[in-house]
Point group: C2
């Protein structure tokens, strides 16, 4: 069994991004909007800024109070769309409840949408066209699988969770690479059988849901979940000690998908349209 070292691979990706950025004729500039004072969001934004600095991408954080109006947020985004110096725009989620997330996503220019969440980029991904940006987490997972040369074409891939951020774009991206994709969720029956018999399992649920031995000993288990258990320790969706001896490849939590997501986001932020 091989542990997929997201930390190490992400460093490699960031090195490549840094080199790309150095060779660009202009410096990419990522604008990050943070509305409200969600503690986790602040940490995420901070990590993104640190990563950007590391690879030579300029970043600006625009902090807005939780009571900021939707109109104000939209007009800030429009300003950033029009600003030629800004090459990427990222709105940290979740947004305050009174703000319509879809309206916000609809306003970001698809050419600056480094998260790949705008309808145009989502639609292109769904149709099989090239979006300007692929969503960071699934893209980071594909980078990790590719680094370890894990076969995707023809593989039976089972995705747990159907969010717009991970599950659904992950399905599209694996389908593009010719995997047979099954999307599971809270209504899925016989979940254990579906997990066990898969070649690739991607779990993005946020609770301890993968708790069975795998049938195929070269299968690959990717854990996107990250949360604190009752003892306050960071853990993921996968019962690591139980699952890891039965599979071929597995990601740790932390140190697996997390760092890959940041590296993948920096890869996106280095693209200038």
């Amino acid at each position: 069994m091989i542990i997929l070292d997201g930390k190490a691979v992400s460093e490699k990706v960031l090195e490549n991004v840094k080199e790309t950025v150095q060779n660009l004729s202009r410096q990419p500039h990522l604008a990050v909007i943070l509305a409200g004072d969600n503690t986790a969001s602040k940490i995420y934004v901070n990590n993104k800024q640190k990563a950007a600095e590391k690879v030579g991408i300029k970043s600006t954080i625009i902090e807005l109070p939780a009571i900021t109006s939707e109109d104000n947020l939209l007009s800030i985004i429009k300003g950033l769309n029009a600003d030629d110096d800004v090459t990427g725009i990222l709105v940290q989620l979740p947004l305050p409840e009174h703000i319509n997330k879809n309206k916000v996503m609809n306003t970001i220019s698809p050419q600056k949408d480094v998260d790949g969440f705008t309808p145009e980029n989502v639609g292109k991904l769904a149709i099989g066209l090239e979006p300007y940006f692929y969503p960071a987490t699934p893209q980071g997972i594909i980078m990790l699988l590719d680094e370890y040369k894990i076969p995707i074409e023809g593989a039976d891939a089972v995705i747990l969770g159907r969010s717009n951020i991970v599950g659904k774009p992950m399905a599209q991206m694996l389908l593009r690479r010719n995997a047979t994709v099954t999307i599971c969720h809270s209504y899925t029956k016989d979940l254990e059988t579906k997990i066990k018999t898969a070649d690739i399992v991607i779990s993005a649920v946020g609770k301890k849901i993968v708790r069975c031995k795998m049938d195929r000993n070269n299968s690959c288990v990717v854990d996107v979940g990250i949360f604190r258990n009752d003892n306050g320790k960071l853990t993921g969706d996968v019962e690591f000690d139980l699952v890891s001896p039965s599979c071929g490849y597995i990601t740790p939590v932390p140190g697996g998908v997390g760092p890959m997501t940041i590296a993948s986001l920096m890869y996106n932020a280095s693209k200038v349209y």
Copy 2:
């Protein structure tokens, strides 16, 4: 085993559409663009026009020679977008090879896109928002399943084929209804096992690919394929005589999905935004 009577259900849907149209304050008007002289396309367009007439929807067919330029086609679409009398626009596929289909789809106003193929409508479907129009074939299939009260929530649904017209939107629509969805294609291994163990099989491949008995005797097999066999007889993807005794519900070819697609399209064409 019950044969899903697409012919009868489609008549019922068309009756409802007719009533809806009669109660509208303005008559819907469907513009159909037919470029080139593909014989099959002509038959399809003709059938659509007949159906429109039946339900009281005005239709105009715009025939263009195969050598028509992309620019000309795009400017015709823009004219239709701007024409307040036209409520729906349909570009019959396939288009002549020198015309970029994606550019064409990108030009149709999403509010008049009765086929549901424009990026905005596809993107909304993918994100889980309400598109202006759902693609006709998968929508017609859902109508048929609902008419026979076939449970979708929690069902294991296996889709064969991943086209933008049927397979991919079908996956999204079944997922919305809380089915567990597996998308299969030419790279899929152990296809027979996947088919057999499903609750719902939707086959949209265009060759005789479903040729095994089903394991679950209340399963439902939907045949989207339609082509002529070596004897010139219309047939579908499913080996009907072999499969039908082993399942609970099955669509015939012809008389199954075909008429439902037309009825579903008319349902779309009756919507005025």
